[in-house]
Amino acid sequence: MPLHDDQTIAPDAILYRVLPHPNWVKVEAGVTRPSSIAFFESRQEVSFFVDGPGILNELRRIFPGAPIAKVPAAVLREKGLAIERRPDECGDDFHGDTASHVVVGPAEQIEPNLYEKRARSIAKHPDVGIVSEEPQGQ
């Protein structure tokens, strides 16, 4: 189903992607970064959470110890990806604002190798990184 890019999500909004698998992160020149695999998705709809009050702490509560990638919305759109809210898909255990849950993908399905190239370029983008582990005062 084509994704609808939600313009209520500002270009400078930060989106979080939880990385529970150890191979979804890599260390390059001593810096831990998300790997491209963290952004692969067979249906081309990757789950993220848009930053907002209490969101990061809630993600840390649900996924203790898991690294969390931060990606500006503008980077995703720059790669031709749409951001669509999916409040029903964030899970019953999530006690934050369910409207913060979004899926990201191309507006129309593309060949998987092209999709993977976009995922790779997101993972390498200089504005993309891992959130520091210090608790946020939210």
Binding site: V18, P20, H21, N23, W24, S35, S36, I37, A38, F40, E41, S42, R43, E45, V46, S47, F49, L59, I62, F63, E89, C90, G91, D92, D93, F94, H101, E111, P112, N113, E116, K117, R120, K124
Partner: protein, 180 residues
């Protein structure tokens, strides 16, 4: 991993007329090891059915990667807010076939990772060069991306396992030392 408890019962006497070599307790009924005559194995032609066997020294990582793949298949979960990391048997079997083919090519140990939507990625690294093969559910091919030493994609596409020439070309290019 939890294992099934082993039986502590042992046979009280030797079996008669059975195939002692097949019994796990056969040695209890045989003469002491020092008295056994060792016969050198005579060379015999291998069955053609066994020819494409993977040599262990070509791919010492194969067993552990297959084990990791089995673990993914057994323990993958659908995680709301992250993705469905369950790997089906069909997808895992597809990856096993690729591993069997590639394990004879002196590649380094790959990284195995599930990805959202039931996929599995195999990643080989040599320095910053990377070769990734991704298996997707319900697809009988693999997506591959090969990068240069800067991590930039230099080749990508979709390959089936019967495209031997293309597969070999990608592996050869990946293993080749880049020009300085």
């Amino acid at each position: 991993m939890r294992r099934a408890p082993l039986s502590t019962s042992r046979p009280t006497k030797c079996e008669k007329g059975g195939n002692r070599a097949m019994s796990p307790f056969a040695t209890a009924c045989e003469p002491p090891a020092a008295t056994i005559r060792v016969q050198p194995a005579s060379p015999s032609p291998r069955s053609p059915q066994l020819e494409p066997v993977v040599r262990f020294d070509e791919s010492p990582w194969l067993a552990s990667v297959l084990w990791d793949l089995r673990s993914l298949e057994r323990s993958g979960q659908n995680i709301p807010g992250v993705g469905d990391l369950r790997v089906t048997r069909e997808t895992a079997d597809h990856v096993r076939r690729l591993l069997t083919i590639l394990s004879g090519l002196y590649l380094p140990e790959p990284i195995l990772a599930p990805f959202s939507g039931g996929g599995v990625a195999l990643v080989w690294n040599i320095g910053n060069r990377e070769l990734t093969f991704s298996a997707y559910p319900n697809r009988n091919n693999f997506v591959f991306v090969r990068t240069d030493d800067n991590g930039d994609p230099v080749s990508d596409g979709i390959l089936r396992l019967d495209q031997n020439r293309e597969l070999n070309n990608e592996i050869t290019a990946f293993l080749a030392t880049p020009a300085r």
